[in-house]
Symmetry: C2
Subunit: 230 residues, 2 copies
């Protein structure tokens, strides 16, 4: 006997959003902790990020199961259906965000075994703070159905790309200057790429919120930085 | 008036699978062409891959819309519901596969401007052929609900990882040997990473097929290569 069957329709919808918000808080913490593990060469913190990722996987499966059940049994229409679908889609973005944070944590373990590269890890820290603030904003937008915040996150996507491109150039210089650092630098390069992709997920979530609130399928063409670093 | 409303339930389910199979064929071609564009330094082919990606995005949206509509209006149960959900999930994996192929095509344009690195691009070609065959197999498994093929794709995931790790080592050697190639090599590194991720999507699709056919949520713990290259 499934306890949810005694819930009302509205309660089920609210529970779905609440679970997405919970998941969002955890994903945000995973990103912040992964970046801190890099900055502080904190092996224990990195390992806890890696271990905690599973919780996000479970939450995503649970949200998806509940959303599909709700669609099948309650046949939500219009804004309720959009709310249910965007919960599913945002949960998917948050699960991917967690995977990327986990990967950053894993790489932090690898580079913690080589010489510190303070300049580079400080850049990762700066980029991490920027991406974390995007995540925080988009989750606020989701909580309060705030279109203006979602729009702001969506428009600021290029800022993350600029950080990434700057890091890419910084890494090339570093590697060319001291080829012995190339192996460690490739890990930093992937960390930066992961942060950029987390920024993309924040932008995608902003689009889902826009769709949920307005019913318009997509925002205008996303602002993308033209760059030699595809 | 939506033409689907006059379709029968069975017809709608079949149409959903047919659209996923169509999408799969296109995604497979995108990967093969992207890799060929790298190997042949074929700018025109790379540009056509980039331009064709949009079709995959449209197909994913269409499959998702139809699947959600089917869940809401037909309330499929048991195996029909699994079939509908896995169509949605496989479409998502195929859309991501297309994005990764598009990114490989974009990077091929960048490296086509620098000195040929035949050894490296041959390795990309080999890895691309392996990943393409995984995609082909998993799509065959989907078409025929063939559990054994899905299982084989799922178990062979480590083979792609081994290729990636070998390429990673090859790239490090190349970069250290001639630091002027570092910039171009980072693009090849991301190409290899993209192919590895396409391989992961093939594995995910195999899991969705397993779920669709058996109703068991997941296969046993996925075989993952332990590696210094997370």
């Amino acid at each position: 006997m499934n306890p949810h069957t005694v819930k009302t329709y509205g309660e089920e919808l609210d529970q779905l959003s609440a679970e997405v918000i919970l998941m969002g808080g955890l994903a945000e913490a995973q990103v912040a902790d992964a970046v801190e593990a890099v900055a502080r060469r904190d092996v224990a913190l990195a390992q806890s990020v890696i271990q905690r990722d599973q919780r996000l996987d479970e939450l995503e499966k649970d949200i998806e199961r509940k959303a599909i059940r709700l669609i099948a049994l309650r046949q939500p229409m219009a804004s309720d259906l959009r709310k249910t679908v965007s919960a599913m889609k945002i949960a998917t973005s948050l699960e991917r965000t967690g995977d990327l944070a986990k990967n950053i944590a894993k790489r932090s373990l690898v580079i913690s075994e080589s010489e510190p590269m303070s300049g580079l890890t400080r850049s990762i820290e700066r980029m991490g703070k920027l991406v974390s603030s995007r995540l925080r904003d988009v989750l606020d937008a989701y909580k309060g159905s705030k279109l203006d915040i979602a729009q702001a996150v969506w428009s600021s996507d290029t800022e993350v790309d600029e950080h990434y491109n700057a890091m890419f150039r910084e890494l090339l210089t570093y590697m060319m200057g001291d080829p012995r650092t190339i192996s460690a630098c490739t890990h930093v390069l992937f960390m930066a790429k992961n942060l950029e992709r987390i920024g993309d997920h924040a932008t995608n979530m902003a689009e889902h919120i826009h769709y949920e609130v307005t019913g318009e399928d997509y925002m205008n063409e996303r602002p993308k930085l033209t760059t030699m670093e595809p």
